[in-house]
């Protein structure tokens, strides 16, 4: 499928941009939005991302460093203060979201807040601690970003200050915490508990967590009780061989079956649609990804589908946009079949998800009305309150009789 064709469909464009990336023209590079992103990336020594809003408010997120390569099918240009993406002989107007202001701020301990938290169109992602047993045992996941964050853990106060700054700026509607694996029954979630408690104590925000499954389901109960609103145990690939290849630590120290068990149990504990798992599209055969989607959806889990980004446009991959597009339609149908709403994961714009399914031939986006409510100021508060009431009703001391 040519770039001039995909550019007409925001979903296809998002997918193709994610897979193949784009370059930035000289005039666009000179704009304050992009030059600031580049400068700050150099200052903090890590790649920041550009949040680009495509037509119909479709968000796409592209690491700035990847935009510096020449070998890309799309170009971001700027004319008279307006941005365009050009592909082949077609172009479409887009909006480049300005970099969050809090990235330029520092915590009271002098740490750049851009190092602590990254915002992606409404959600703030934080990895409070670089601890991960996989890295320690040289079994790190292939696309792990924790490994790059060698250094100390951020203190609870540093994290809270960053969240406060992001909230004050209006760029954090959700908080997404990421934690590595620890060789303990909780699998690492206990490390997050003080951060979660502090965030929940100070702010009316929904908190989602990406972690590894604990060894016992008792810890999944504890995870929910801590105040976490949505949990992700990321499988990354359904095919066992691919799974082991990209996540050897997950395979050897936790086991693929435990992922399914934990996801199934978590789906009973968390609200419907609040348990998610990544399947990276493009790493394994499309047929295998489809099987994975069906399996996860049948367990009550929402699959989110990050797309494997090509390092160069000539790199071989399992599929290009033509092959991948049906995956998102399949995802939408699988969720419908299992009566799962993707409302809770509408903020995961890094990945394509069922919300985008209608761009690939599906019906109207699922849960669109609820997404609008959730994104509104009062809607967010209402969602937070409903989530808290649900937790108050369901969580009981372990020695309480249920039933």
């Amino acid at each position: 499928m040519s770039a001039s064709t995909t550019i007409k469909n925001p979903g296809l464009l998002k997918l193709d941009l994610t897979i193949r990336g784009m370059k930035i023209s000289r005039d666009a590079l000179a704009t304050p939005e992009i030059s600031r992103t580049l400068r700050l990336s150099q200052e903090i020594g890590a790649a920041l991302e550009l949040d680009i809003v495509l037509p119909e408010n479709v968000m796409v997120n592209i690491p700035i460093r990847e935009c510096l390569a020449e070998d890309r099918p799309y170009t971001l240009t700027e004319k008279d203060g307006r941005f365009f993406i050009i592909g082949g002989d077609a172009k479409t107007e887009v909006w480049v979201a300005p970099l969050a202001g809090f990235y330029e701020k520092k915590t009271s301990t002098g740490v750049s807040m851009a190092k602590i938290g990254r915002t992606y169109a409404g959600y703030l992602a934080i990895s409070p601690t670089p601890v991960c047993e996989f890295i320690f045992q040289e079994l790190a996941c292939r696309y792990c970003d924790l490994e790059a964050k060698k250094g100390r853990a951020w203190s609870v106060e540093e994290v809270v200050e960053t969240v406060e700054a992001a909230v004050a700026e209006g760029v954090a509607e959700y908080i997404c915490l990421n934690v590595g694996y620890t060789d303990s029954p909780d699998g690492g979630i206990a490390l997050l508990e003080p951060y979660i408690k502090a965030i929940k104590h100070r702010f009316d925000l929904l908190v989602c967590v990406q972690a590894q499954p604990p060894t016992s389901d008792e810890w999944i109960d504890a995870t929910y009780a801590m105040g976490i609103d949505s949990i992700a145990y990321n499988l990354e690939a359904y095919d066992p061989d691919v799974f082991e290849g990209i996540a050897p630590g997950k395979m050897r120290l936790i086991g693929r079956d435990r992922y399914f068990e934990a996801l199934k149990y978590a789906a009973k504990i968390f609200p419907s649609g609040a348990v998610v798992s990544n399947l990276i599209v493009g790493l394994e055969s499309i047929a295998s990804t489809l099987k994975g989607i069906d399996m996860l959806a049948a367990l009550g889990v929402i699959p989110t589908l990050p797309v494997y980004r090509l390092a160069t446009d000539s790199e071989e991959t399992m599929g290009r946009v033509e092959a991948m597009a049906p995956v998102f339609l399949h995802l939408q149908n699988a969720l419908k079949r299992n009566k799962l709403s993707p409302t809770w994961i509408s903020h995961f714009n890094l990945a394509l998800n069922a919300i985008d399914g209608h761009y690939f031939g599906g019906e109207a986006p699922l849960g669109q009305r609820w997404q609008k409510v959730l994104k509104s100021k009062h809607g967010g508060r209402i969602a937070h309150s409903i989530s808290n009431v649900r937790r108050r009703l369901r969580v009981r001391p372990a020695d309480d009789e249920v039933g």
Partner: protein, 481 residues
């Protein structure tokens, strides 16, 4: 971070509608109780009952439901009773609150503080080990020791404190013998013996369970009569001895020991004694004060007052700096003390407004029972009710009614007091019946069905023994029915 720092929780994953309903059950229950209260108060006053009595009846019924259901902590229900009595005009508020200052309440508080001192100083453990060591000859002897030692100790301190103090020792004995849960009959007999010993011993004096002084307080408030420390012991100890013997043979019969050599258990006891070292000065002094208090309770308790002796002993312990207030604060169950104040006030309210007499007349008095039948019913009710609800609640509910009925049947109110108070302390069947059972059950070696099986036979045996003793032995003491 370890698991202990994270609260142990579970998530109720049933459909939300069911969770909401089950969580709302409590609210519905309170609304229903409030409606019942309103219905009793607004119903046309029945014959034989005054409007004030009707209000007292409403408070009694609501308190009874709350004590039995434990929708509120026992102490809070008692506070409700104290407040409701003057608010509904059943009695003057000064009177209601003054009943909280009853001698029994202070006796219970003193007894708790003395027990706390014994436990904190290690004196109670030393006494237990000293006697237990003498029963180390064989498996059967050890079981006998584990029955008799806590029984004797529960004469002088609350049975739950005895059970809690002995538990680590029994656990260590079982571990030294390498016995496994679910497989060892001997382990079951060890834990049951310790629990039943404490339970049975706890009814022998006023010190073993605070329900006994509560019963005396209700007796005094409603009839002006009382039972002395020694008088109680003389009446109850034979029952205790017979029940201990029955418990011993039942334990041996149901749980035939698979081991004969208990030398390792004896070694554990020996090691624990060595660990304690020589008795410390504070232990000796606490022991001396306790001994003097016991002698005083027996000899001059009636004239000086049980509470006065208890509180004086407590003051002496603080004079000699044998305990600190922090020790006492941590140990004393202040909630139980509040509970007793309310129960006494309610008992008085129910008696002074003739509610108890009216209830008795409407129920047992209309059934053409003989005194023996009435006694048997009361004893059986008390013993089976206490399996499910607090023994204090049993006394608070049954005794005012029992005393009222006793007069019409020619039963000495003292006999009725013993018939309610003693069986209310004898819960053998269920882990929740009494703390001693719960502690034994927590070992993991005993199953509920073990307890129910032997406990039911002990319940029935206790009813029979109690009635026979009351009929045959008590008349010799001047207690007739």
């Amino acid at each position: 971070m370890n698991r202990s720092k994270t609260a142990r929780v579970k998530v109720d994953a049933r459909p939300l509608s069911i969770v909401v309903l089950s969580r709302s059950a409590r609210i519905f229950a309170f609304v229903a109780i409030a409606l019942l209260f309103w219905a009793i108060v607004s119903w046309p006053t029945p014959k034989g009952l005054t409007p004030t009595g009707q209000k007292a009846l409403a408070i009694f019924v609501v308190s009874l439901i709350l004590w039995v259901s434990q929708l509120l902590p026992l102490a809070i229900t008692s506070l409700f009773a104290i407040v409701a009595l003057p608010m509904m005009g059943v009695m003057d508020k000064a009177k209601a609150y003054s009943l909280f200052g009853n001698e029994a309440v202070f006796f219970i508080m003193g007894a708790f503080i003395l027990a706390a001192a014994m436990v904190k100083s290690g004196l109670s453990s030393r006494v237990a080990l000293f006697f237990l060591k003498r029963f180390g000859g064989g498996a059967k002897q050890l079981i006998l020791g584990l029955l008799l030692v806590p029984a004797f100790m529960a004469f002088w301190m609350p049975e739950h404190a005895v059970a809690a103090m002995l538990f680590p020792i029994t656990l260590e004995i079982i571990h030294s013998l390498e016995l496994r849960p679910g497989q060892s009959a001997f382990a079951k007999s060890v834990f049951l013996a310790a629990a039943y010993g404490a339970i049975v011993g706890g009814v022998a004096t006023f010190l073993g369970g605070a329900r006994n002084p509560l019963a005396i307080a209700i007796l005094r408030q409603t009839t002006g009569q009382s039972i002395g420390f020694l008088e109680w012991m003389v009446a109850v100890v034979p029952t205790v001895l017979i029940l201990l013997a029955i418990a011993y043979f039942l334990i041996l019969y149901f749980f035939k020991s698979e081991i004969t050599d208990i030398s390792r258990a004896s070694a554990v006891l020996e090691a624990r004694i060595k660990e304690l070292g020589k008795p410390k000065l504070e232990e000796r002094l606490i022991g001396l004060i306790m001994l003097i208090a016991i002698v005083c309770w027996i000899t001059i308790g009636k004239t000086v007052g049980l509470a006065n002796i208890a509180i004086t002993a407590v003051v002496l312990m603080f004079v000699f700096k044998l305990v600190t207030w922090k020790d006492i604060e941590d140990y004393v169950n202040w909630g139980v003390i509040l509970m007793y104040g309310g129960a006494i006030a309610l008992g008085y309210g129910v008696a002074s407004t003739n509610v108890a007499a009216w209830v008795a007349k409407s129920t047992v008095l209309s059934w053409s029972l003989t005194p023996l039948m009435l006694m048997t019913i009361i004893v059986a009710l008390s013993i089976f009710l206490t399996e499910g609800i607090s023994n204090v609640a049993v006394v608070a509910i049954l005794l005012p009614l029992g005393i009222s009925a006793a007069g019409s049947f020619g039963i000495d109110p003292k006999v009725m007091t013993l018939a309610v108070a003693v069986p209310s302390g004898l819960a053998y069947m269920l882990p929740m019946g009494t703390p001693a059972n719960a502690i034994a059950f927590s070992s993991g070696f005993i199953k509920v069905k073990d307890m129910v099986k032997i406990g039911f036979i002990l319940n029935v045996s206790s009813i029979i023994v109690f009635i026979v003793i009351a009929k045959v032995y008590w008349p010799l003491l001047g207690l007739k029915f």
